[in-house]
């Protein structure tokens, strides 16, 4: 009797209008989202995923989370089938997923980790190159942060939720989000996408070197490389951090409090002289650039054309940038040569500005003389006119 009442209650609840409306609403939302889905464009229907996953039983069923990735892989790992839509499409996503932190845990039955639909959406899937896609470059961080920025979700896995917030404060986020530079790195640039896994300390430099090639080359040829390897220190991490990669400043180089070098070095340890010299070179070049820029700006504000000076200043700025890159050699020599070239270019810019200012003075003196002559002529003319009958 009790069982019958319970069964009747369940049936009643299922037949209640609110539940029906909820179920209907979910179906409508899924149907509406699927209209814009890349699969719908390719001619696939609800049956393609739902009946197939249910074993072709003729009834739609929610796909179990552990079955989502294998379900997607039925098509996306089939080169012959995928080629019919796009001859260059990749088919290794599932294989990569199985090697990822997400995939390994999912295979072990942990359903709280990410699977295909968590990142790509379930019914409104768009191509990665579509800027609306949750996995489009500009949206990747937001998509990852849905889980990785949620402290409650991360706690069971022993991970903190700081990385997305840290990344948002980085130079990389500024480039991608503020400047719209889609080549700037986001989560998957370093961690991978389908094969997402945290890079180990030993691999960090390899990850950074994807873009910062010259810095990596210099570092590997520097005396620091062997030392860092010996103490198991992450190459780039020691100075730049990982997610919150901030814009580097010349003030990082030094032995005073707050400088990055001072984390390990002091006046007694070796390298103090190199650190001071490197900083002096950069400071001198920066000051030369500022001085040249100021005189060029003054000339321009006075209406003088100083394009040659601006060109030289641009050259000096490039040398300053190269000098800053050469800091990664952790030696005086290559940097001092580059800084000397920069100083020469800055000197040319300064000279161009000063020449323009001198020229301006000559013009103004010339005008003063001409004005005096003109005034004298006008006075004579005025006298002549007054004396006319």
């Amino acid at each position: 009797m009790k069982r019958a009442v319970t069964a009747a209650w369940i049936v009643l609840v299922f037949l209640m209008p609110s539940h029906l409306a909820w179920a209907q609403g979910g179906l409508e939302a899924a149907t509406a989202a699927f209209k814009d889905d890349v699969h719908a464009t390719a001619g696939l229907t609800c049956d393609s995923c739902h009946l197939a996953s249910a074993g072709g039983g003729g009834q739609y069923a929610a796909i179990p989370r552990t079955a989502i990735a294998p379900g997607c892989a039925r098509c996306h790992s089939d080169p012959a089938y995928m080629r019919t839509f796009d001859p260059q499409v990749r088919v290794d996503q599932f294989a990569q997923y199985l090697t990822s932190g997400h995939g390994r845990r999912m295979a072990a039955g942990e359903v709280r980790v990410a699977t295909c639909s968590d990142c790509h959406a379930a019914h409104g899937i768009t191509r990665v190159r579509d800027p609306r896609a949750p996995v489009a470059a500009a949206n990747v961080a937001t998509t990852c942060a849905r889980c990785h920025g949620d402290a409650a979700r991360m706690a069971p896995f022993g991970r903190d939720a700081a990385p997305p917030v840290d990344w948002s404060a980085s130079v990389h986020a500024a480039a991608l989000v503020k400047r719209g530079d889609t080549s700037a790195p986001t989560c998957n640039s370093c961690h991978g996408s389908h094969g997402a896994t945290p890079p180990g300390v030993a691999d960090v430099a390899t990850v950074c070197a994807q873009c910062h090639t010259r810095e990596a080359e210099l570092f590997r040829a520097s005396p620091k490389n062997a030392i860092f390897e010996a103490i198991g220190q992450g190459e780039c991490l020691a100075c730049h951090g990982n997610h919150r990669v901030e814009s580097p400043a010349d003030a990082w180089i030094g032995l005073e409090e707050g400088a990055v070098c001072a984390q390990c070095h002091d006046e007694v340890l070796g390298g103090a002289q190199t650190i001071r010299t490197v900083r002096q070179q950069l400071d001198r070049l920066s000051a030369a650039l500022s001085s040249a820029d100021a005189v060029l700006t003054r000339s321009e504000e006075a209406g003088m054309l100083v394009d040659d000076g601006r060109l030289a200043l641009r050259e000096a700025r490039e040398h300053l940038l190269h000098s800053r890159v050469l800091v990664h050699a952790f030696a005086e020599k290559p940097l001092s040569d580059m800084a000397a070239q920069g100083a020469a270019a800055a000197r040319r810019a300064q000279d161009a500005g000063e020449d323009a200012m001198r020229d301006l003075q000559v013009r103004r003196r010339g005008l003063s003389v001409a004005t005096l002559l003109v005034l004298a002529f006008l006075a004579t003319l005025g006298l002549k006119i007054r004396r006319l009958p």
Binding site: G303, M304, L305, D307, D308, R363, R364, G366, L367, A370, T371, V374, L375, F377, L378, L381, G382, K384, I385, L388
Partner: protein, 361 residues
Amino acid sequence: MMRGRLQPWLEERLPIADLIDALRHKTVPHHRYSFWYYFGGMTLFLFGIQVGTGALLLLYYRPSATEAYESVQFIMTRVPFGWLIRSVHAWSANLMVACAFAHLFSVLFLHAYRRPRELTWVSGAALLLLTLAFGFTGYLLPWNEVSFFATRVGTDIAATVPGAGDFLVRFLRGGKDVTGATLTRLFGFHVAILPAVATLLIGLHLLLVQRHGMSVPPSVEAQAGKDPGTVRAMPFLPHFLLRDLFAWTAVLALLAALSTFYPWELGTKADAFAPAPAGIRPEWYFLWAFQALKYMPPEVAGINGEAVAVAAMSAGALAALLLPFVAGHTARSRRTVVWLGLVAGAFMTAMTWLALSGPTP
């Protein structure tokens, strides 16, 4: 010795003595409005400066999209006194437009367009239009960002002319869009066609001024007892000419000061693929028309709003050109002309002020 031989030789061949004699006998009315007579001479003087400095600029300027900007840059930075020549050319063009407008309005308000000076007025009004055309065609020549987009906006206006709009735009641009072909075309207008027409018109205008003399305003005539013969006059040579020379010298000093303290800027090179900078606008003397077009609704009685505004401005320009033939000869009609002139002047000033208070590029 040389002069002793040269003078009779020249006099035998050229009517110099007759000309000097005619000028010695020429007189100019002298009254409280005589000051306005000098604006005509000042406009002519500035035109002379334009011809002189323009000829010097031609020695270095290259009229092509790839070289125009660089050649002006070269003139400004490398050619001795190139900066001065270019700045004087640009400032003098602006002063010339201002003087031409002042001359036109003074002639209008002093009713100097009356019989028998109708053709003097028509040739003068046509010269003002030519001056504006000089400004429009010269603006693009440095091929910088502002001039490029302003020319695009300016030539777009021609598209609103019903029927011939598309043809006019193509004619002005030498194609569908503003390109190097437009630059070459406008350069041709600026240095060959317009100067030729202007020289002819200036010749006619001066001839008519000599033929009819300076007009005496009706109020001065009335004060002098309706008899122009009783109005005070001064000899043209040397009295008026020396005063003219005084004004020209002062203008020359002003040009030198403006060019030294405010050298005409070059800006950045035009890039057809770059987005138009915010607040793009034409030279100050076209601002009133540009601003008026902005206030026009998209449609007026089912007709394109811009087309209506362009038609109204064209009708206004035509009416101004033909003013002596449409204005009456009574005191009342003269008052109407003064009021219309004041309204037109106030409208142009207000529109210019509104445009200038907007964003700058």
